[in-house]
């Protein structure tokens, strides 16, 4: 759900008879749980879909640095400042290996960044919400990283080797981040009344957007079936969302915070929590660019990229000069 609504280029799932011999052979390898590696033959649609999915994920990591980076200068203790800096740095690292994983499929980082800046490729809707208080940093760790782990653990088993391997490392770091986020909230919830109110306010604002991270309901998820067949999506949006709610509600109770959903209730028959209707209109508006921070996030990324252009150009120019000098000396 760092990658939402990934376009597979197909509006319906093809019947087996419609597949070419190559496509059938490819599907047979997937069905046999053979990992696909960059040099292997693969259908063009699989390649294109993965490029979109992995780069959405990479962009989410990089754009996701901004809402949390917003509090590095204001972290309320030196320990928290160090932890937050290290966390945001980890996200840069995740972005880096995800860009590299996507590059193995025949695209380039520059092209992907260009796609992001031009609005041709999305990043997760969640990063278009603002971080207004310190409690938001704890809440992002707890809920957003929690939701990310929920989605990414199955991806460790996905069919594309480089992506699956990147996910293993990313998940290890994300679970560390989630614990740090929860620890921030524990401290706030056991602190002054003002701190506890800050934590509740953050949960009130982040709860519904965190549920939206898993993407639209399965019934409206037009591309999911193909992605599932290719094993680049292993569990459906609704399944993941339910697991997330089931896992998170007891954590909120432990913190003594109230989840802002009057319909939230344990359903003994289903063995799951029931929860209220998500405002999908808001989700689609945020994806369209109308969230509270869409404009700021992209403007900040574009400015950083443009401000850094002379640095990148100079580094390339210097490397060329050095290579020429070495050639001359040889």
């Amino acid at each position: 759900m760092y990658a939402q609504m990934v376009d597979t280029g197909q509006s319906r799932l093809p019947e087996p008879a419609e597949l070419s011999a190559d496509e059938r052979a490819f599907q047979a390898r997937i069905d046999a749980d053979v990992k696909i590696e960059p040099r292997d033959d693969m259908p063009e649609a699989y390649r294109r879909t993965l490029i979109r999915q992995i780069q959405q994920h990479a962009h989410s990591e990089v754009v996701g640095m901004l809402p949390e980076g917003n509090w590095i200068t204001r972290a309320p203790s030196l320990q928290r400042k160090a932890t937050l800096m290290a966390k945001v740095q980890d996200e840069a690292g995740h972005g880096l290996y995800l860009y590299c994983a996507a590059e193995t499929l025949g695209t380039s980082r520059d092209r992907m960044i260009d796609d992001l800046h031009a609005g041709r490729v999305r990043y997760s809707s969640i990063f278009n919400y603002p971080t207004l208080t310190w409690a938001d940093i704890g809440t992002i760790g707890w809920l957003v990283d929690g939701a990310a782990i929920m989605n990414q653990i199955p991806l460790c088993r996905c069919s594309f080797g480089p992506y699956a391997r990147a996910m293993i490392r990313v998940c290890k770091e994300e679970s560390f981040h989630q614990r740090q986020g929860f620890d921030i909230l524990m401290t706030l919830c056991r602190g002054t009344a003002e701190q506890k109110a800050m934590a509740q306010d953050a949960l009130d604002r982040w709860w519904w957007p965190s549920l939206m991270m898993f993407g639209p309901p399965d019934a409206e998820s037009v591309h999911s079936a193909q992605s599932a067949r290719w094993k680049i999506k292993l569990l459906s949006n609704d399944e993941l969302r339910q697991r997330y709610v089931d896992q998170t509600v007891p954590q909120a109770e432990y913190l003594g915070l109230a989840i802002p959903d009057p319909k939230l209730a344990w359903n003994g028959e289903r063995g799951h929590y029931d929860f209220g209707e998500i405002d999908w209109r808001e989700f689609h508006e945020v994806l369209k660019g109308n969230g509270p921070c869409n404009h700021d996030r992209i403007a900040t990324r574009i400015k950083a990229w443009e401000d850094g252009a002379w640095v990148r150009e100079a580094a390339v120019a210097h490397a060329a000069k050095r290579a020429a000098r070495e050639l001359e000396a040889a």
């Binding site: 990089v62 640095m65 901004l66 980076g69 590095i72 200068t73 204001r74 309320p76 203790s77 030196l78 928290r80 400042k81 160090a82 800096m85 290290a86 945001v88 740095q89 840069a92 690292g93 972005g95 880096l96 860009y99 310190w134 401290t187 602190g191 002054t192 003002e194 701190q195 900040t300 400015k303 950083a304 401000d307 850094g308 252009a309 002379w310 640095v311 990148r312 150009e313 100079a314 580094a315 120019a317 210097h318 490397a319 000069k321």
Partner: protein, 268 residues
């Protein structure tokens, strides 16, 4: 603390102040580098520069922890790292003027870093020989990290100085603008002198020539001209190390300290 010829309480007060001088430059520069996170020119650099910031923050915390222990020896109680970082005003901060200068462009940030790193490494190597064992141990640990900082910032100064015409001009301008803050790196005051005499502090005046040599070598490779020494800021006993700062520090601290000061009873 012995060797200063001062009564123990005064000597500890002097040492406390000296430790703040070491801590605050690290903390303030780490805060500046924190402003860059997520906005670097390329992802690899974002990661590398954040590493430097994290190292400096860690070193600053070690100096602050020791400062608090020393303070407890002569005051009613010693403050912890967060009290010292978040509840001192600008005039109580003891950092160098160089590190509080704004980030500016990447050229300004890198030149500031390079000038500081080249000094910092020599400073730590000298402090690793301090008669104060705690100072010597912290300096020895920090020096290993700072050796990498020097390598990184020197590499970038060369790359950008000898890169494109534009990068060369930007780097030379940054160097010219920041040079007036380098005098303070080597300006000792009476309290430095007392601690140097006791074998505790580093003699910064002795670091000047080795620093000039090292900086000069990198600048030459970068095809940048070393500025001539004109009027220097913060010397003659009225600089950052004495608590007389530029306007920039107040803004930096206002941001950094806002939350703990708004809720002084809270723990974080």
């Amino acid at each position: 603390m012995t060797g200063t010829g001062l009564p123990p309480a005064s000597a500890d007060a002097l040492l406390f102040d000296y430790l703040l001088r070491l801590a605050d430059s690290d903390i303030v520069l780490a805060q500046r580098l924190g402003e860059w996170v997520g906005k670097g020119p390329v992802l690899e650099e974002d990661i590398a520069q954040t590493n430097v910031g994290l190292d400096l923050l860690g070193q600053g915390r070690l100096w602050l922890a020791y400062a608090g222990e020393v303070e407890a020896r002569y005051a009613t109680r010693g403050r912890d790292e967060n009290e010292l970082a978040y509840f001192r005003d600008g005039s109580e901060y003891r950092n160098l003027l160089l590190v509080e200068q704004p980030n500016g462009s990447y050229a300004d940030t890198l030149v500031r870093q390079f000038l500081y790193d080249a000094w910092h490494l020599r400073m730590l190597d000298a402090l690793a020989r301090s008669r104060d064992e705690r100072i010597a141990a912290i300096a020895a640990k920090a020096s290993k990290e700072v050796r990498y900082h020097v390598e990184r910032s020197s590499g970038w100064v060369v790359r950008l100085g000898d890169g494109t015409d534009e990068s060369h001009v930007r780097m030379q301008r940054a160097l010219d603008a920041l040079w007036m803050y380098t005098g303070e790196l080597f300006a000792a005051d009476a309290s430095d002198d007392a601690l140097v005499a006791a074998g505790i502090a580093a003699d910064v005046t002795a670091l000047r020539e080795p620093w000039r040599q090292a900086v000069g070598d990198v600048l030459a490779e970068a095809t940048l001209a070393m500025p001539s020494d004109g009027w220097m800021q913060g010397v003659h006993g009225r600089g950052g190390r004495q608590g007389v700062h530029s306007e920039h520090l107040g803004q930096l601290l206002a941001v950094m300290q806002s939350l703990p000061r708004a809720m002084p009873d809270a723990r974080w």
